[in-house]
Symmetry: C2
Subunit: 198 residues, 2 copies
C-alpha cells in the first residue's frame, strides 16, 4: 500500500497467496508450483523465495488462509441454517463443498502431506480453530460422547470431501451439475448421518 518501492507489488507475499488459490481452483494441487505461482503473479521464478523459504512454506501460508476462510464460511452457513443443531452441521458440509469448489483448497490442501512438519503458528491456529468449530457443531447434535462427536465430524467431512473430489474430477460432468447442486446433495447426505434429532 504505502510502501510500493519495489518493481511490481506493494505486497507480493499476499499476491502470491492469492495467485495460489487461483491455481488450485483451476488445476488442483497438481498444478500448484512456485514457478506457476510466480508466473501468475507476474514476477520471476526467484522472487517468491524472498518471501517464503521453500515451496512447502508457501503452501503452508495458503493452508492457513484457507483454514481461516473456510471456518468463516462454515460458521456463517451454520448461523444462516437456524438453531437446529442437525441443520447447522449439515449446512457446514454444504459450505465446505462450495468453498472448495470456489477455491480448490480443501482438506487435501489444508492438511497436505509435508505441512505437518513445518513450523507455522498461523497455520496451526487456524486449522485448530476450524476443527474446533466443526467439533462444536457436531457436539451440539446431542451426541453421547466426545468420540462420537469426532466420528460424526469425520463422517461429515468424508461426505463433503467425497462429493467435492468427484466434482473436481468432473465425475458429474454429464449432468452439467453446478457446485450449488452438489453442495445441496452433501447437505442432504450429512443430514441423514446425524442420529436421533428430528
Amino acid at each position: 500500500m504505502s510502501a510500493n518501492r519495489g518493481y511490481h507489488h506493494g505486497d507480493l507475499r499476499a499476491a502470491l497467496i492469492e495467485a495460489s488459490f487461483g491455481l488450485l481452483a483451476e488445476n488442483g494441487l497438481h498444478g500448484f508450483s512456485v514457478a506457476a505461482v510466480a508466473r501468475r503473479s507476474g514476477v520471476s521464478s526467484a522472487a517468491p523465495y524472498r518471501h517464503f523459504p521453500d515451496r512447502d512454506h508457501l503452501l503452508s501460508a495458503v493452508s492457513a488462509t484457507a483454514a481461516q476462510d473456510m471456518r468463516t464460511a462454515i460458521a456463517s452457513a451454520a448461523d444462516q441454517a437456524g438453531s437446529d443443531p442437525a441443520a447447522r452441521l449439515a449446512a457446514a458440509a454444504g459450505a465446505y463443498v462450495r468453498y472448495v469448489a470456489a477455491t480448490g483448497a480443501g482438506f487435501h490442501v489444508i492438511f497436505a502431506a509435508g505441512l505437518y512438519a513445518i513450523e507455522d503458528d498461523s497455520r496451526r491456529e487456524h486449522t485448530r480453530a476450524l476443527m474446533d468449530t466443526l467439533l462444536d457443531l457436531a457436539t451440539a447434535t446431542a451426541v453421547g460422547s466426545h468420540t462420537e462427536a469426532v466420528r460424526l465430524v469425520e463422517a461429515m467431512i468424508a461426505v463433503a470431501h467425497g462429493y467435492t473430489s468427484l466434482f473436481a474430477d468432473d465425475f458429474f460432468a454429464r449432468n452439467n451439475s453446478t457446485a450449488d447442486e452438489i453442495a445441496a446433495r452433501a447437505v442432504e447426505a450429512t443430514r441423514l448421518l446425524i442420529p436421533a434429532g428430528t
Copy 2:
C-alpha cells in the same frame, strides 16, 4: 511363461501394470510415472514404450484392470452381505474402501483426467460393467426411479471415496486407524443414506 526369450520378463506388459499398482498404493497418483514404473520393474525407462505408446495408455491399462478387480471385489462383498438390498449396497462401499486402501486405484485413477479421450475398449467395458454393478445394487433398494438410483450410487461413491481420500492422506493417522475400520465406517454411513428399507 513359455516365451521368455527377452532380457528380464516373460510378460513385461503385465509386470508394468502390477508395478503401477504398487506405486499407486505407496505414493498415490502423484507418484505414478513411466520412469518410476520402469525402475520398479527393473527395466530401463525406455522399455515400457515398447508396450504402451505413452503414459496415458499405460494408465488406461491400469484403469481397466482396476475397474475389473474392483467390480469383482464389490460383487463378492455384496454376495457375502446376504439378500437385504440395503446391506448389499452398503457392503459395496466397504469393498471400495478396502480395495483402494490396498491398491491405491480408486475412481480418481479409474476415471483419471485424460483417460476419457483414449481409445481403449477393455477399459470402457470394465468401467461400464463396474458402474452397472453399482447401479444394479442401488436399484434393488426399491428406489423410485432410475435418477434416484443414480443419485444413490453417487452418494455411496462420495462416502466411500471421501473416507478413502482422507485415509490415504493420513487424516486418521492419530487414531491409528486400519483400512478395515475405515471401511466399516463407510458401510455404516452408506447404510444411513439408503431410504425406506428396514
